[in-house]
Amino acid sequence: MCAQISQSDGESIFADLDDEGSEREEEISPRKRQLRLYRRALGEQWRVLSQDNLVVASVITLLFFITMAITAPFVAPYGQTERLTADDGTIAQWEQPFWYGGEGGYVLGTTAEGYDLFSQLLYGSRAALLVGLLAAVFVAGIGTMVGLVSGYYGGRVDDALMRLVDFMYGLPLLPTVILLVALAGPSLVNLILAIIVLQWRTTARVIRSQALSLRERPFVKAAKVAGASDRHIILKHLAPNVLPLTFLYGAFSIAWAILTEAGVAFLGLGDPNHVSWGTMLQSARSYNALTHEAWWWFLPPGICIALVVISGFLIGRGYEEITNPELQE
């Protein structure tokens, strides 16, 4: 049951990569060498990744939603806020899906405003992916860099950065996002910025505590003794070792970002000009869709949110297993 330990913890997991590159050509061009190494690493990673069915399923799911986001204008039968009219000239409000006996042939029926739900669901993927992916990249990136720098240098740098993190922690996520959005106006860009500003703190803190431990490990000390530069140690020795956490928090960030967007929208401060799954849920709630048993309005956006979030998690987890051999069998 217990994990077999294949490596002592005194070694960098990228040690083999570090020691390579003795070929002449690459000595001349370190960039080429690095490129080759990354290509090889990524190829290797995908090979391992594709062995896990859940990860493959997640990648397919994400690709599906990305395709949905790109092709929405071509696939969607109507505009996202195109007001539909019924035969008698009134607004086509609360139409049921056609397979549920509804009129007008709408795949998922229409909203109380007379918008096509299926089209909204398609367009909604754009906002969710934009928020999720952008926030994840920046949150994980900024958080990791701050955490590593802080943990590695320690002292004043650490103090200053960690007090900044403390400061950020002092701001409660949802109320502060609401505050910032109320301040700057409800738009997707402001929302993404607010989420990034408030979210990198967690990653930074966790990575920093990892870095604190790591820098006491023998391989880091050895590198120091060997005269490696700080930058080299951070990027080559520490970064690879915290990557699993970076990906874990990157994945969590997708979840947080998408869920935060949904939450802010739910409280009525979503971007009114972009339909997102969050604003769809908000509309469904405002118009009491569940009371009217219009579950085709309320359920699909929530399920889509969950699918994207879960895919992010699973890919993150798969990645973590590759980059952290300690977790491998």
């Binding site: 400061f167 701001l171 409660p172």
Partner: protein
Amino acid sequence: MGRAQFVVRRTLQLIVTLWAVATALFLLFRSMPGDPTTYIVDPSLSGEARERLIESYGLNEPLHVQYMIYIQDVATLSFGQSFHSNRAVRDIIALYLPRTLLLMLTAFFFAYLIGITVGIIAGWRRNSDFERRSVFIALIARSFPDFWVGLIVLWIFGAWLDVIPMSGMRSGGIQYDSYWNVELWLDTIWHLIAPAAVLGFYLMGYPLLLMRNSMLEVLSQDFIEVCRARGLKERSIMFKHAARNALLPIVTAGAVALGYAVGGSVLIETVFGWPGMGREMVNAVLRRDYPVAQGTFFIFAMTVILLNFIADLAYGFLDPRVTYD
């Protein structure tokens, strides 16, 4: 650097951080468009009446005067008086915070108890069905928006099956003389079940996943082998040695997650009509009730920052490899 010096330095930094938060809050709120009268006033109230209200809130004073008053208030933790309720902000916090804590701590307790336990076992029994299932459930729990689950729970169990109360933290139309009335408590617990369960389910995923990962880290380290070599029992290694060491990231993450959950409770509080701090905080922002908004945000900030401070110190005690330089 010695431990005492470290504590002193960190305490001084703590004060600077808190001052920075307080100032930032003041500036943030004052740069919001609108004023306290724009939200609470019926649109039919006259302009002159609004001016008189603003005057009564002391908002006609120059900004630096308001700031000085505010900083004094913060220093004494009094935060002044609410524009919306005329009540001392301290009293408002004393009223709403316990309600949120009741909900939060209940949810947190069960979420972390279950999450950590399952996480330990999942990490220990690597690649078992148990691990796969528990991780999957944790991911599911974490993936659905809690307010969405809450509304569905309300719809199914409240409206349709009619087995849980629809709203609030007590039944209507009953007046209790004291907080220590047994019926009141039973009634409150009855109202607590649904929101705490939804919240607990949502919160559970985080400690579970974190604990599992942390366990895997720890299990790959030498000393576990040493323990094994010494012939210690598996159960004892799992809970006493491995889990204790693996708890470290949970301590930091969990401590702040708690503070952070208070702010995030606004969604569940809204759905279940729970009269708590999260809702009050957001309402204060929307109402431009600066004293309440500043007070609640600051108390929140102070709690989280203090928890961080303590976690930082605890880190040093728990991980002997950390030095105080």
